[in-house]
C-alpha cells in the first residue's frame, strides 16, 4: 500500500485523495522540502537494476547503516531472509508500506510499523552487503555451504596503525545501508528490516549519519565534514561511467570463483571519531596545512578553485611544497596512490557526548571499491601512519562487506551466492 494513499484515506477518505497528498507523491513533482538532490532527481529511485541502488545514486542527506549477525544455522533461513528483505526493500524504496498484504486483523500487530505513513519515498535506497564472517565462522567452518564462494578479497580489514576498534561497532555477517533525505524514512526501513530478521539475524550494530560528506554526482555541491572543510571534492561521480566501471564495479574476471559478485562492489565502513575540541583550537594555518586545502573554497593550497587539480610539486617562496606532503590531500590524492580511486559515500555522525563532555562525533566513512586490497588497504595504511590529520582522528569501528549486484524482478539480493 502506498504510504501516501493510506494517509489520504486515513485523513479524510476519498476526498483527500484528490488533494494535496496525492499531488505531493506524484513521481514527477519531487517537490520535497529540504531536498538536497539535484532539482531533476526523481522522488524515488528504482530498486531493481544491474547494480544495487545507493552506490552511484546521488548521495541522500541521511544514513542509517546496520550490521547484522545471522543467528540461524540453516541455509534455508538465510535464503528466506534475503528473499524477504528483497521483497520489503522493493516496497519501501518506492514509498510503500513494508508488505503488500493489505489489511491485517485488529487483533494482529500491524505488519508495517507505521512511522513513515504519510511520508514520501524520500529517495530511499537500501543497499545490502555480506561480510566475511557469513561464509566461515572463527574456526573456519563453512556456515551455510557457501564458503567456497567467499570472494578472495573479502577478508576482515587488517589492523591499521592507531586503530582503536570497538568490537561492538565492527564487522557483521550482513549489512544494510539505508540512505534517504528524511531520517525517519531511513530509520523506518532499518527498523522494519530488523523486525523481519528476528529469528534469523539480529542487529549487531548500527550507525546514524547526517550531512553527507561526499557528493556522488556533479549536480551536487561538495559538502563539509565536521572539521569544517569540504570533503569529497575528487570523489568518483555517477557521471563518470568509465571511472566507476574501472574503480567501483567488480568484473567477472576479477575473481572467477566468485562470479556471483560481478556487477557488485565492496563496501568499506569505518567509524572515524574526530577530536573536535582540539581541532577547534588549531589555527586556521594549521588546519589548512593539515588538510591541504583552503577552508573557504576547498581549493588546493597550490592555488585555483575547488576543482583545480592540486599541484603537489608547487613550491612556496621558502622552497617548501605549498601542499605539505604529509597533508591529508597529498597522501590521499589518487596521483600518489597508483591512480587508485574510491567512491566515497560517508556521513557525519554525532552520537551524543562522551563521559568527558566532548562530542562523540566524527565521520562514518563509507567507500565502494572494486578491489579493497589495492584501493583501500594500502591507502589507509599510509594515512594511518603518515597523515598529520591523524592527530585529530581515531578509527573506532570497521567493516568490509561484499555488495552483490543488483536484482531483477523475481530475484533476491545475493541470489547468485546460492545458485
Amino acid at each position: 500500500m502506498t504510504r501516501r494513499s493510506l494517509f489520504g484515506v486515513a485523513a479524510g477518505g476519498a476526498v483527500a485523495l484528490g488533494g494535496a497528498a496525492a499531488i505531493a507523491r506524484s513521481d514527477g513533482a519531487a517537490a520535497l522540502a529540504g531536498s538536497a538532490g539535484p532539482a531533476s532527481a526523481p522522488a524515488a529511485y528504482p530498486f531493481h537494476g544491474a547494480h544495487q541502488a545507493g552506490i552511484v545514486t546521488p548521495a541522500q542527506d541521511r544514513l542509517h547503516f546496520a550490521a547484522f549477525d545471522v543467528t540461524s544455522r540453516t541455509r534455508q533461513d538465510l535464503v528466506d531472509l534475503l528473499r524477504a528483505w528483497t521483497a520489503a526493500a522493493a516496497e519501501l524504496t518506492q514509498g510503500r508500506t513494508v508488505s503488500q498484504g493489505g489489511a491485517v486483523p485488529y487483533d494482529a500487530p500491524p505488519t508495517d510499523t507505521g512511522e513513515a505513513l504519510g511520508l514520501t519515498a524520500s529517495r530511499l535506497t537500501l543497499t545490502f552487503g555480506v561480510g566475511p564472517s557469513l561464509f566461515e565462522d572463527a574456526s573456519g567452518a563453512d556456515r551455510f555451504g557457501i564458503a567456497e564462494r567467499r570472494p578472495r578479497l573479502l577478508e576482515r580489514l587488517p589492523h591499521f596503525p592507531a586503530d582503536k576498534l570497538d568490537p561492538a561497532r565492527s564487522d557483521g555477517d550482513l549489512c544494510i545501508q539505508a540512505c534517504a533525505d528524511d531520517p525517519q524514512v531511513a530509520v523506518h526501513a532499518i527498523r522494519n528490516l530488523s523486525r523481519i530478521a528476528f529469528g534469523t539475524a539480529s542487529l549487531r550494530w548500527a550507525q546514524l549519519g547526517y550531512g553527507r560528506t561526499s557528493s556522488t554526482s556533479t549536480a551536487q555541491q561538495t559538502p563539509r565534514n565536521l572539521f569544517g572543510f569540504k570533503d569529497g571534492t575528487n570523489n568518483l561521480k555517477a557521471e563518470d561511467p568509465e571511472l566507476t566501471d574501472e574503480h567501483v564495479w567488480v568484473h567477472t574476471q576479477d575473481d572467477p570463483a566468485s562470479a556471483w559478485l560481478a556487477g557488485g562492489s565492496y563496501l568499506v565502513a569505518r567509524r572515524i571519531s574526530m577530536h573536535l575540541e582540539t581541532w577547534d583550537r588549531t589555527s586556521l594555518r594549521e588546519q589548512e596545512l593539515i588538510t591541504g586545502r583552503d577552508r573557504a573554497e576547498g581549493a588546493p593550497l597550490s592555488g585555483g578553485t575547488e576543482f583545480t587539480e592540486p599541484d603537489l610539486a608547487a613550491l612556496g617562496g621558502d622552497g617548501a611544497p605549498l601542499i605539505d606532503p604529509r597533508s591529508h590531500l597529498a597522501l590521499a590524492h589518487h596521483s600518489t596512490n597508483n591512480g587508485h580511486r574510491m567512491l566515497r559515500r560517508g556521513y557525519n555522525f554525532t552520537d551524543g557526548s562522551t563521559a568527558l563532555g566532548r562530542l562523540d562525533a566524527g565521520l562514518f566513512f563509507i567507500a565502494f571499491v572494486r578491489n579493497p586490497a589495492s584501493q583501500y588497504v594500502p591507502l589507509q595504511t599510509k594515512l594511518s601512519r603518515d597523515d598529520i590529520m591523524m592527530e585529530y582522528l581515531q578509527h573506532t569501528g570497521s567493516g568490509l562487506f561484499a555488495v552483490p549486484p543488483g536484482v531483477g524482478a523475481g530475484e533476491f539480493v545475493g541470489q547468485g551466492l546460492f545458485a
Partner: protein, 399 residues
Amino acid sequence: MTRPNRRSHTVPHAAPVALIALAVAGALTACTDNPTGSAGAAGGSGSGPLSVISTDDACQVSATRAPSGTLSFAVRNEGSKVTEFYLLAQDKLRIVGEVENIGPGLSRDLVLTAPPGTYYTACKPGMTGPGIQAEFTVTDSGAVLEASGADADLVAQANTLYAAYVKDQTEQLVARTDEFVAAYTAGIDDAARALYPVARTHWERIETVAESFGDIDPRMDAREADLEPGQTWTGWHVMEKDLWPPASGYSALTPAQRREFAELLVADTEILHDRTRSMSFTADQIGNGAKGLLDEVATGKVTGEEEAWSHTDLWDFQANVDGARVAWEGLRPLLTKRDAALDTRLEQQFAALQTLLDTHRRGEGFVSYTELSPAEVKALSDAVNALGEPLSRLTAAVV
C-alpha cells in the same frame, strides 16, 4: 511487575469475541516472513479490499459480491454515532465477522475468511437494532477453505486447559509462599533465599493473569524503582532486598517488620488464589497472555531488572516461558487448523529458546544473572525476539 500496565485493564474485561468468526488465513500473517511466496495464495481472493462507509442512515459497501477466500472490509464511520459492522451468515443471525466500537470519523479493517455462499453485510450505527443490512454474495474462487464449526469446541478446550493451569499454579504458589515466609519470618535466611525463586516461579508462570488484578499486583510484586514518591513498598521484592541486602546504606528489617510484610503477602496470595478459582478465558486472552509473558521476559528478565538483588532472573525467565508455552499448547489444535505454518514456527522457536536456557541451568535452577556474559545475554535476547515476533501473531490467528 509491569509498570503502568495496559493488560491489567484490558485482559479481564476484554469484550467477548465472536468465537465463530473465521479469522485470518495463513497468507496474511505470513506476509512478513515470505512476501514473495504465499501472499494471496491461500486466501484465494482475487479482489482488493472492499470499502464500507457507515453513516447514520446508510451502509455503503463498495461491492455486493466477492470471490471466496480472505475478504478485507475497510470500514469507515462517516456518521455521527458509534457504529459496528457485521458480516452475517445467510440466516442473518450467525456472525461471521464483526468490528465493534468504531467512533465517528474512524476507520477499521475487518479481515475474515469466507466460503462461497449468501451473506449479509450490516452496519449498526448507534450499536442497536438489526442494523442496515444488505445481501452479499461470496462466489466460488476455487480456493480450498477450512470448514468452520468445531472451533467453538476448540476454544472451550483451550480455556479448560488454561484455566486449570492457572488454578494449579496458584495452588502451588500458595503452598510455596507459605514455606518461604515460614523460613523468612523464622530468620532462616539461607532456606528463604533458596525458596524465593522457587515460589516466584508459580507467580511468574501466570504473571499476566496475576497482573490483571490491579489492586493486589502492586502490593505483591512492585519493584523499588516502580514506586512513586510516598508510596509504601510491600511484597516479594522488599523481602528480596532484605535477603540479598546492598553492601551499605541498608538497615535490615526487624523480625516484626518481616512478619508484617510476610502476612500481607500471604493474605494477597490467598486473594489471588480465590479469584482464580472460577476464571475463564477467551482465545484472545490466552493468546495475548502468551505474548504478554514474552514481553515480560524481553523487558524485565533478559535485562536483569526484575530481580535486582537476588539476580534470580533466569528462574523468572523460565517461568514466563513456561506460561507462554502452556497457553500456546492449549491453542494448538485451533492454531494448526488456522495457521499451521505459524504453529510450526512457534514450535521451533520455543524449542530453540529452551535449549539456550538449559545451558544456564545449575542444580535445580539457574545461574545468577550476574554470571551471564554480555554475549550470553544478547543470545538470550535474540532467542526471545525470535519467539516473540511469531508469538505476537498468535492471537489474530485464533480469534
